[in-house]
């Protein structure tokens, strides 16, 4: 815990500060007069002036940066340029939907990966193991945009079981919301589930080959107990790290998945922001994603040190 507080937390914060500065500098990297470029060719002089004012382009870099940080911390992010409306509101609208999607996907990742890995590592040469292995390779090898298209093709177009896209509020119509959520969450979860399953299976198999498992076997501990009580605790810490990294992939993958399934989340917003060069939206969203991701990393590190006594006590 002390190692965490004194070493990991500061380095996480340092990365966050560096990332925010990088995001901030992005705007200034655009060639030419950023305000004119940002406003676009058709913008009125008033818009250009508004942009210049908001960016405070005349002020020194550091004070511009601090000003922006201040905006972020107060939650008042000012107006967007191209999309329309306040940035804070735009983000607020999409956040819930994206959170729902990634959380559902995260649950699916765990639910799909952990039993798969345990089953595959349990060692018996069951016929299912080979099929599972092929399935995970497939899920690993097929990009999410391909999986998404395939899922729509099979479940929506072919079988007509689930809607091809859209979104319903979880509170107003829960059953409909789950139907809408199913395909995008599955599409988002599959590659990460495959990766987690692979790592966990790998970790379990490595642990099963270790001397301490041999020792437990020599003591007469049953195979089942060895898998669950001896190998799993050893494989878990690194699996948690992989899961943490995969949460990043889920956040990133959500952008594509939201596009395929017309899911009204932040992915749509950032995509619009980038293609329409709405910089305040892009900037603030990038910072949000990076901050969230760094926080997830810190949490997984904390979990790791809780799971692994060698780290815990150092």
């Amino acid at each position: 815990m002390r190692t965490f507080l004194f070493k990991r937390l500061p380095s996480g914060l340092a990365v966050l500060v560096a990332a925010s500065f990088t995001v901030f500098l992005m705007l200034r990297l655009i060639p030419g007069d950023p305000a004119t470029t940002l406003a676009g060719p058709d913008a009125s002089p008033a818009t250009v002036a508004a942009i210049r004012e908001r960016l405070g382009l005349d002020a020194p870099l550091l004070s511009q940066y601090l000003h922006w940080l201040g905006q972020v911390l107060t939650g008042d992010l000012g107006p967007s340029y191209a999309i329309g409306g306040q940035v804070s509101e735009l983000i607020g609208d999409g956040l819930a939907a994206t959170f729902q999607l990634t959380l559902a996907a995260l649950l699916l990742v765990v639910v799909l990966a952990v039993p798969t890995a345990l089953y595959a590592a349990s060692g018996r040469r069951r016929p299912l193991a080979g099929a599972l292995r092929a399935l995970t390779t497939g899920a690993l090898a097929v990009p999410p945009f391909v999986t998404g298209v395939l899922l729509v093709l099979v479940f929506a177009v072919g079988l007509g079981l689930l809607p091809a896209g859209g979104h319903a509020s979880l509170f107003d119509a829960p059953d409909l919301a789950v139907q809408y959520l199913a395909l995008p969450a599955l599409c988002l979860a599959l590659p990460s589930a495959a990766i987690l399953a692979r790592y966990l299976q790998d970790g379990l198999e490595r642990a099963l080959g270790e001397d301490y498992v041999r020792n437990a076997t020599a003591l007469g501990v049953s195979r089942r107990r060895i898998l669950w009580r001896h190998a799993l605790p050893n494989a878990l810490p690194s699996a948690v790290t992989v899961l943490g990294l995969q949460i990043g992939q889920l956040i990133a993958g959500a952008v594509v998945v939201e596009r395929i399934f017309a899911w009204p989340g932040l992915g749509q917003l950032i995509e619009q922001g980038v293609s329409r060069r709405d910089y305040p939206v892009v900037q603030d969203l990038l910072l949000l994603v990076v901050a969230g991701y760094v926080a997830v990393q810190l949490l997984t590190d904390l979990l790791y040190s809780w799971l692994d006594p060698r780290v815990r006590w150092e």
């Binding site: 270790e210 020792n215 437990a216 020599a218 003591l219 007469g220 501990v221 605790p233 799971l307």
Partner: protein, 545 residues
């Protein structure tokens, strides 16, 4: 010579009519095509102790693993039986075998660090061992039994340490915990595979005493596997010598050690360095009067500045030309740090090293002082040919052109007893002893005057050990080298050294002529080290220490 081929008849089994607990008949084990164990035959009575000794590749560990059918992947019992109380374990179905393992017959493995689960507390692991077999005992009862077991093997403050994890114990304590695990169900047979190889001599002695005590007091039959005859002589009343998967000779330990019948046993015994044998260094070379290498107040620490761990507190040393100085110390004494500081791999924190009266700079050190490493596998770059490995120092010091270097490599290879054709091959193609010769050739390449040997023979079998020691002695005679011989094995050190220095916690606690340090130690730590060396009865009568 004929004796090597004609195996003498096996020594009659000592009759143990009370109970023939374990009976191994014509055991054969194969890894694929390769037969690792061929027709091993022995019996073990209740409360008896049997040592199995042999060099690497003799099949001794495979035999031990086959007793519990714990063979690694690819290994298979291809013939014979392992009968425990009349039941053949080799033919038992897996589930029935599980009920026997840990309950009737238990095992202790070599490396206690890797054999304990790093993420489970010691209490949890003992609990796992206790609940592995049948009877559902309440949790509290299991916990108190766990404390009992830890106390039995001599872990201090046992009750308060159940929640601790393996990395929080010392190496010796870990091995004690391993023994506690194996004793969880009072197994009748305890198989120990190289139980002390990873441990320091003083700790080794404690563990061996513990095993002997368990054998004596609890009547647990012991099977101890070791490459070290001394270890077995200390713990086992009967001895079985193996070579190439076959039993060469077996019999009562004292009889076998004093009057071996088979020539292989005799060779093996002759190769074991004995602590009571006087130093042979004087016959080899006479050291010069003026010291060549002088170390004064050398200190080196590791870690961050504020919490620095001192590996070397303050070391003073002198090494004369043509002299072998034996440096003895246990793990953590700082001997490897000292070696690395001498060859200029680490800058010391304080103190100085002078060579031939002048302060030693890095460039000079890299020519005049060369090093021979412990691990003959890790110390040779697997990507280079042997010739290139030996030529590397010549290239680095810009010695000669290509053809001259080639000639020098061939000369060096011959000097260490290898064929010149070895230059074109990969180090992987050589055995441990041959690799060590390659390492020595590399060290000799820049014509150094000092050779630092860091545990040069501890990874080798005794017979190979003797060859490498002979080689070093010959090189010293021919080239007048000064040798710093670092080792933990006092018997080897006495044999090769003119003088011995004892390193303890970063300081030299004692130094003096080799024979004097061994026969009349002045420092209590030296005496403790000497007492820890397992003694071996001498084949010829008398002259026991």
């Amino acid at each position: 010579m004929t004796e090597l081929i004609d195996r003498p008849p096996l020594v009659e089994q000592p009759p143990s009519p009370t109970a023939e607990l374990l009976r191994v008949r014509e055991l054969h084990v194969s890894f694929g095509e390769r037969a690792a164990v061929r027709g091993v035959d022995f019996a073990l009575g209740a409360g008896e102790s049997l040592g199995i000794v042999g060099e690497s590749g003799s099949g001794k560990s495979t035999t031990a693993l086959a007793l519990l059918r714990m063979l690694p992947a690819g290994g298979r019992i291809t013939g014979g039986s392992v009968e425990l109380d009349g039941r053949d374990l080799a033919a038992l179905p897996e589930e029935a075998l599980r009920a026997v393992r840990g309950k009737r017959i238990a095992m202790i493995f070599q490396d206690p660090m890797s054999s304990l689960n790093p993420v489970l507390s010691v209490g949890r692991q003992l609990d796992e061992a206790l609940r592995a077999h049948g009877e559902r005992r309440p949790k509290a009862e299991r916990a108190s039994r766990a404390v009992e077991l830890l106390e039995l093997v001599g872990v201090p403050k046992a009750a308060s340490r159940l929640g601790d994890f393996p990395h929080q114990f010392s190496g010796g304590q870990r091995q004690r915990i391993m023994i506690a695990l194996a004793l969880a169900h009072d197994a009748q047979v305890l198989v120990a595979d190289e139980p002390t190889t990873a441990l320091d001599p003083t700790v080794q002695r404690q563990i061996l005493r513990l095993l002997a005590r368990i054998n004596r007091e609890r009547g647990t039959a012991l099977v101890v596997i070791s490459h070290d005859l001394g270890v077995i002589a200390e713990t086992c009343s009967r001895l079985l010598v193996m070579r190439d998967g076959e039993v060469v000779e077996q019999g009562a330990t004292t009889l076998l050690l004093t009057a071996p019948r088979h020539s292989y046993t005799r060779t093996l015994l002759a190769a074991v360095p004995r602590l009571d044998a006087p130093s042979r260094a004087a016959a080899n070379s006479t050291p010069g009067a003026e010291p060549l290498l002088v170390v004064r107040g050398l200190a080196k620490g590791y870690g961050p500045r504020r919490r620095r761990n001192a590996a070397l507190e303050s070391v003073d040393l002198e090494l004369h030309p043509g002299e072998t100085l034996g440096l003895v110390g246990e793990s953590g004494s700082g001997k490897s740090t000292l070696a690395r500081a001498l060859v200029g791999a680490h800058a010391p924190d304080a103190g100085g090293i002078s060579f031939a009266g002048q302060p030693l700079d890095g460039r000079r050190a890299r020519r005049e002082i060369q090093m021979v490493f412990q691990d003959p596998y890790a110390s040779l770059n697997p990507r280079l040919t042997v010739g290139r490995i030996i030529a590397e120092p010549l290239i680095a010091h810009r010695v000669g052109d290509r053809a001259q270097r080639q000639a020098r490599v061939a000369e060096l290879l011959e000097q260490v007893g290898l064929e010149a054709s070895a230059a074109a091959r990969s180090p992987r193609e050589f055995s441990g002893g041959q690799r060590q010769r390659i390492g020595i050739a590399r060290a000799l390449a820049p014509e150094p005057s000092v050779l630092v040997c860091d545990e040069p023979v501890s990874a080798l079998d005794v017979s190979i050990q003797a060859q490498v020691i002979d080689l070093l002695a010959r090189l010293q005679r021919e080239l007048g080298l000064a040798v710093l011989f670092i080792a933990h094995d006092l018997a080897v050190v006495r044999q090769v050294s003119h003088r011995i220095a004892v390193l303890h916690r970063g300081r030299i606690v004692e130094s003096g002529p080799a024979d004097r340090v061994v026969t009349a130690p002045e420092h209590p730590y030296t005496a403790e080290l000497l007492a820890a060396v397992p003694s071996l009865p001498t084949p010829t009568a008398g002259s026991l220490l």
